[in-house]
């Protein structure tokens, strides 16, 4: 059936990818951007509680790196830990848009049941583990995930993202070093989007590149154009294959650019607008991917439009569905602190304790 709709193909597809896979990746990156745009609308309507983080301009690397993993739904596939700007990775692992919207709206039936925010979400079956705010912490955690793959002799791989800024943390260092010493099947994606909040690269590191850190840990390292989805896929695939073959961890530096502020409230006064404009005009990952698909005859404009239309419809439904979700019941604040039952309710919710009658 796929054969019937195939566009005239002029170039061979790299990295052993099929045309179906190329289109799936397109759908994922398009979904990422569109979903974030919907969230931005919801944010402006005050329906998103808390902050909102955009990955505009860097969606490509999220999707393309995660796409290199073995994705399953039953807890036997590879594992990934996404940062706030890796919505694309999560969608690639199988997160449904409605789950993301519910989460941002702090709904009771969101994956975190309203207890955690943005895309800090875990689903061990689909293979993702939510990050927490203190940056770097998920590097050792994912090293531990990979340790168990090794201990259990499973041919599974872990992938973890870290911002250029967060490479400065002690947690990053300890986790990466542990993975390297133990030769663990872990892929560390350093997302060099040139900014850590308002801080430019030169105030985060004096190194020429983040890939230069790899030899200091004795691990493989590579720098890749982060807005070239196929290049990111290729590098990730190499790293995943190496990890699966017992070759240990790899550090991949993906070069990209954060076109929005750190979060919605950040007006980016510290950035030259021309710089952002330049990236938008000449180096957008989706534009570049679409061009590659079309120029190589891997997809037609009609096909891409159809995918886009379908996504927009899906998103309409997802938002509508999420809006209908209930907020959590207040008492849920006290559940899931321990496995063996809810904590004692704070006594002030009831009659104050009466030491004469206890």
């Amino acid at each position: 059936m796929a054969n019937k709709t195939r566009a005239r193909s002029t170039a061979t597809i790299p990295h052993g990818l099929s045309r179906e896979q190329l289109l799936e990746m397109y759908g994922l990156v398009r979904l990422t951007r569109s979903l974030e745009e919907r969230l931005e609308v919801l944010f402006k309507q005050s329906k998103v509680i808390g902050g909102l983080f955009r990955s505009l301009g860097q969606e490509g690397e999220s999707v393309a790196s995660a796409y290199a993993l073995r994705r399953r739904e039953d807890g036997t596939g590879d594992m990934l830990s996404p940062l706030i700007r890796n919505l694309g990775s999560m969608l690639t692992m199988g997160t449904r848009p409605v789950e993301v919207v519910r989460q941002y709206m702090a709904k009771g039936d969101s994956l975190a049941r309203g207890k955690e925010l943005n895309i800090h979400i875990t689903d061990l079956d689909r293979g993702f583990i939510g990050q927490i705010s203190p940056l770097g912490d998920l590097i050792p955690v994912m090293a531990g995930v990979a340790l168990t793959f090794k201990q259990r002799g499973q041919d599974r791989v872990g992938m973890v993202y870290i911002g250029d800024g967060a490479t400065s943390t002690g947690a990053f260092h300890e986790g990466v070093n542990f993975a390297a010493v133990q030769k663990l099947p872990l892929v560390v994606i350093v997302e060099n989007n040139r900014w850590a909040y308002s801080t430019p690269s030169r105030l985060m590191t004096a190194a020429k590149s983040f890939a230069d850190k790899a030899p200091g840990y004795g691990m493989a390292g590579e720098q890749v154009d982060g807005n070239d989805m196929l290049a990111v896929y290729g590098a990730s695939r190499r790293a995943v294959d190496r990890a699966r073959a017992g070759g240990g961890p790899t550090l991949i530096e993906v070069m990209t650019y954060r076109r929005k502020g750190h979060a919605q409230h950040d007006a980016q006064t510290y950035v030259d607008p021309a710089e952002i404009e330049h990236w938008a005009a000449t180096n957008d990952p989706i534009d570049r991917y679409v061009k590659a698909l079309m120029d190589n005859g891997w997809a037609t404009a009609d096909e891409l439009t159809a995918i886009g239309t379908d996504i927009d419809r899906q998103l309409d439904e997802a938002v509508a569905e999420a809006e209908k979700s209930p907020m959590p019941a207040p008492e849920e604040a006290l559940t899931d602190v321990y496995g063996d039952g809810p904590v004692n309710a704070p006594w002030t919710r009831h009659t104050p304790p009466d030491p004469t009658r206890a």
């Binding site: 400065s168 850590a196 308002s198 510290y270 959590p328 704070p346 002030t348």
Partner: protein, 343 residues
């Protein structure tokens, strides 16, 4: 003075006789200390050109320059430790945690290196670690914490947590001038609350560390509290005053460590009833220490057991219904006051 002219508008509010927010009060306090003493400098993430996540240091880089407004990598251990080193060399660093929750990353270096330095013979470490704390802003588990009890148990540290603009300015100045390390917590829910705007004295002043303040006088019951809860307790006190005729005294600790035991004991001896209220979670909260001090010094004066109102024993949840249920509310305090008043 030339430097005064150069001050941006938003650190001249007090000079102009304008009422300032708690955030502005702290900003002015830091600015004035930096003008007064060239050993004082600020350091942290995004505090330079950006002026900090809450714009606390806006304008500082332009005025004081990069040597005294140091932007750092995301390295809480790194810059906190560096502040200690600078303090050894005679400086008086003020470091910002972008959110106070991330102070946990520097826990070792604060409690093991900094707090013990004087004791070990390496000299006092005059430095301030400050940052936005507290819940009620839908920040979720890692942008809402009250970190005081992680450090309250560490001899060598001082801990400040102001509730008013006047105190905030006077205390940040005292903290910067202090010869020991001071943790200075700033409740972000209070930062820009219009109700807290206050016209501050034009002249230099400090609020001494280690001294509580009677926020509201009363005769029937003492509430010991601090930070955002001071205002919730005052509200509760108004309610019971009006509806029950119960006169509640509200003590604002201001400094948690060293604890102003005398102020607590004195008030308890007057009212004979004690309620402790903290936004922080219940088990292991400061209420226990306060109760213990009262046991040691004024137990005979009590007509009822010291009780407490606090947050539930859980991480800070994100969703509004959950967070509201989790945090102590005015009605909880009212309920507790009524219970104790008729005990």
């Amino acid at each position: 003075m030339a430097t005064v002219i150069e001050k941006p508008e938003h650190v001249r509010l007090t000079e102009q006789g304008k009422p300032v927010t708690l955030l502005e009060a702290i900003r002015e306090g830091m600015w004035e200390e930096m003008e007064r003493d060239d050993r004082v400098f600020v350091m942290g993430e995004d505090i330079g050109a950006y002026g900090g996540a809450f714009k606390m240091t806006e304008g500082f880089l332009d005025h004081f320059g990069g040597a005294r407004v140091v932007d750092t990598p995301i390295s809480e251990i790194g810059f906190t430790g560096a502040a200690a080193g600078a303090a050894h060399m005679g400086m008086r660093p003020v470091v910002e945690m972008q959110f106070i929750d991330f102070i946990s990353c520097a826990y070792d270096i604060i409690t093991n290196y900094i707090a013990t330095s004087r004791y070990r013979g390496s000299g006092g470490v005059p430095m301030v670690i400050r940052g936005p704390s507290g819940g009620g802003v839908r920040g979720g588990p890692f942008h809402s914490q009250n970190p005081e009890m992680a450090f309250f148990h560490t001899p060598g540290l001082k801990i400040v947590y102001p509730s008013t603009a006047y105190d905030a300015k006077g205390l940040i100045k005292a903290a910067i001038r202090d010869d020991d390390p001071v943790l200075f917590f700033e409740h972000k829910w209070l930062y820009r609350r219009p109700q807290l705007r206050e016209t501050l004295p034009q002249e230099d002043y400090v609020v001494p560390l280690g001294r509580a303040r009677t926020h509201r006088e009363g005769t029937d019951l003492t509430i010991v509290t601090y930070a955002a809860m001071v205002h919730k307790c005052a509200e509760a006190a108004e309610v019971v005053q009006k509806e029950d005729g119960v006169s509640v005294e509200v003590i604002d600790l201001r400094t948690l460590l060293p604890l102003d035991e005398d102020a607590i004991v004195e008030s308890v001896k007057k009212t004979n009833r004690l309620l402790i209220v903290h936004e922080d979670t219940r088990t292991g909260g400061i209420a226990g220490e306060i109760a213990m001090r009262v046991n040691e010094k004024a137990w005979e004066w009590l007509d009822a057991p010291p009780l407490r109102v606090a947050a539930a024993d859980a991480p800070v949840p994100y969703s509004p219904p959950l967070e509201d249920y989790f945090l102590p509310q005015v009605e909880d305090v009212v309920k507790a006051i009524r219970h104790l008043a008729k005990y």
